[in-house]
């Protein structure tokens, strides 16, 4: 016992692309945070009670702060309320939550770090902390608004795909791998389910160790409500059925252990 919902403080807020915002917050969660983990963010609006699980984009342990980069999902949404917050505002959070990426598995290997859409942000802290022989960062965007690209470039070789072909390879991250003739021994990925499904298939066909970060609607974020389950190949020890909890057992899973 000791954990609780915490009143974090907004340090800065910036719009970095259409509907995409970057926020730094001062929070105790920074102390233990790892790449690939997330925080539950809460609105200050009593009509919107559930947490918004948002992945951690950057960790500043010394400064006790975290960066989240998130998408505003529509009008009158909780994420829209987050986007209107200013430095000094209070934002309730719980975190860090989830397991995070096992980045030590990449040591001495050629790695793919792959992000798509709002799955791009958690890859930044991963890229910063990972030590590997070849760090190939492959990011998929909708259009030329390639947010965080400059920051990725300081941390590895960057390859871009865009749906409309306005930057990098036209198509998706798998097209970028093919066009650039890239290869890897280990893969880390976060993004929409169709993208993760394609990466999982590619990894399994080529016998590559692959870690994917999943998302699902959550009510608690701490493993109690059983809302955010994913299907597993083997029976899970906690649920005693073929379900794992994305918030607690994930969000990062070995691709071979889950069915998506």
């Amino acid at each position: 016992m000791a954990r609780k919902k915490e009143n974090a403080v907004v340090l800065s807020q910036e719009k970095i692309a259409e509907d995409i915002y970057s926020m730094w917050i001062k929070t105790d969660a920074a102390g233990e945070a790892k790449p690939g983990q997330f925080i539950s963010m809460y609105t200050n609006d009593g009509s919107k009670l559930l947490p918004r699980p948002i992945s951690i984009c950057e960790i500043d342990k010394a400064g006790g702060s975290l960066r989240v980069v998130y998408r505003v999902t529509g009008k009158n949404t909780g994420t829209e309320q987050f986007s209107q917050m200013k430095a000094g505002d209070i934002i309730p959070v719980i975190g860090p939550l989830g397991n995070g990426f096992p980045y030590e598995r990449a040591e001495g290997k050629r790695a793919f770090l792959m992000g798509g859409g709002i799955g791009v942000p958690p890859i930044l802290e991963l890229a910063k902390q990972m030590n590997c022989e070849k760090k190939q960062i492959i990011m998929g965007y909708r259009n030329e608004e390639t947010f965080l690209k400059d920051e990725f470039e300081q941390n590895g070789e960057v390859y871009i795909s865009t749906e409309d072909g306005s930057a990098g390879t036209k198509g998706n991250v798998m097209d970028a791998i093919q066009e650039n003739g890239l290869a890897a021994d280990v893969i880390y990925a976060c993004g929409p389910t169709p993208m993760l499904r394609a990466i999982k298939e590619y990894a399994e066909a080529n016998h590559i160790e692959c870690y994917i970060s999943l998302e699902e609607r959550m009510a608690c974020g701490i493993g109690a409500c059983l809302a955010c389950v994913c299907q597993t190949k083997e029976k899970d020890h906690h649920s005693n059925v073929n379900n794992k909890r994305i918030c607690k057992d994930g969000p990062v899973f070995l691709s071979t252990e889950v069915e998506i």
């Binding site: 016992m1 000791a2 954990r3 609780k4 919902k5 809460y42 009593g46 009509s47 919107k48 009670l49 559930l50 947490p51 719980i94 699902e216 609607r217 959550m218 009510a219 608690c220 701490i222 493993g223 109690a224 409500c225 059983l226 809302a227 955010c228 389950v229 994913c230 906690h238 649920s239 005693n240 059925v241 073929n242 379900n243 607690k248």
Partner: protein, 300 residues
């Protein structure tokens, strides 16, 4: 001042427990809540065999609350007895095991199995709106509710709490029916069946189409039903439904609840039960109540 309450012969150290399904088996909240402080821990519903639950999405946010159709995913009674009961027994709190089933035989099997286990009370879930068979089928008909209560009572070694659904015409009649069947206590309300549609995707938000609405938005409905049930039966009523603060809990007690369960609020404020216990105590001090039972049902 005395926070203790006696529910069907079982003494709780205070009137606060948690609503089944919102607190796992307790272990999930051990980082947030001192489980020793709770009057009782009510566990996630357990069946005779493991249940996989419903497809996702299983939850959606609603105005001032949420909707769920988890579908009673549970590891089955064997794992529950091996793992969850010993875990909870480390703490100085009462254990209420919530039991779910698809048929009378399912319920009885679990209840019989628990007769030899070190647990304090049983709560029989005849009110889950999210499973097709069983559950709610027993909870919307007075005869069926009385029959299932009688059946489980035969096998039960611990006091039996029947958990009632709000999705009925008369909660008073349902409470009377289970009392007639031998229930030692009743708990209410379970969630209210609802539906939410995504207008952009033009589809249901929950994979199950319908789900149970819970949270602060349903609290006044729960207070009204607790009031009606408490005035209809002699057995104790455990009140729940949208309790998110000490004030909400006190309201429920004044309406007739002998104890309260905190549910959905645990999800978005994991330490809320401790705030509620402190708040009830402060209210009793301020208002000069010596015991919790002095407050029960005094608003008439």
């Amino acid at each position: 001042m005395d926070m203790r309450v006696n529910i069907a012969g079982v003494e709780w150290k205070n009137p606060v427990t948690v609503a089944s399904g919102t607190f796992g088996s307790g272990a999930e909240f051990a980082d947030f809540v001192d489980l020793n402080r709770l009057g009782a821990v009510t566990t996630k519903g357990v069946a005779n065999v493991p249940w996989s639950g419903n497809p996702t999405p299983r939850v959606a946010e609603t105005y001032g609350g949420m909707m769920n159709a988890v579908g009673l995913q549970n590891p089955g009674i064997d794992v529950f007895c091996e793992r969850d009961i010993p875990f909870l027994r480390q703490y100085d709190t009462k254990i209420i095991v919530n039991v779910c089933g698809k048929s009378e035989a399912d319920y009885c099997e679990v209840v019989e199995r628990l007769a030899d286990e070190d647990v304090d009370m049983l709560e029989i879930n005849i009110s889950c709106p999210n499973v097709k068979e069983g559950g709610i089928a027993f909870g919307q008909d007075t005869k069926a509710a009385e029959t299932i209560t009688k059946a489980v009572r035969k096998y039960a070694a611990q006091p039996v709490i029947m958990k009632l659904s709000p999705n009925v015409t008369s909660i008073a009649e349902m409470a009377k029916a289970v009392e007639a069947g031998g229930a030692d206590a009743v708990s209410l309300i379970n969630t209210i069946t609802g539906m939410k549609i995504d207008i952009h995707r033009k589809s249901f938000l929950l994979a199950n189409r319908t789900g149970g609405v819970s949270g602060p938005a349903i609290h006044p409905i729960a207070v009204r039903m607790v009031y009606e049930a408490a005035n209809a039966v002699k057995v104790p009523v455990i009140g729940m439904g949208g309790i998110a603060s000490a004030e909400d809990a006190i309201e429920m007690i004044l309406a007739g609840a002998s104890a309260v369960s905190v549910g959905t609020a645990n999800f978005y404020n994991p330490t809320v039960t401790m705030e509620i216990m402190d708040g009830i105590e402060a209210y009793m001090k301020e208002q000069g109540f010596e015991t919790v039972s002095d407050m029960v049902g005094i608003v008439r």
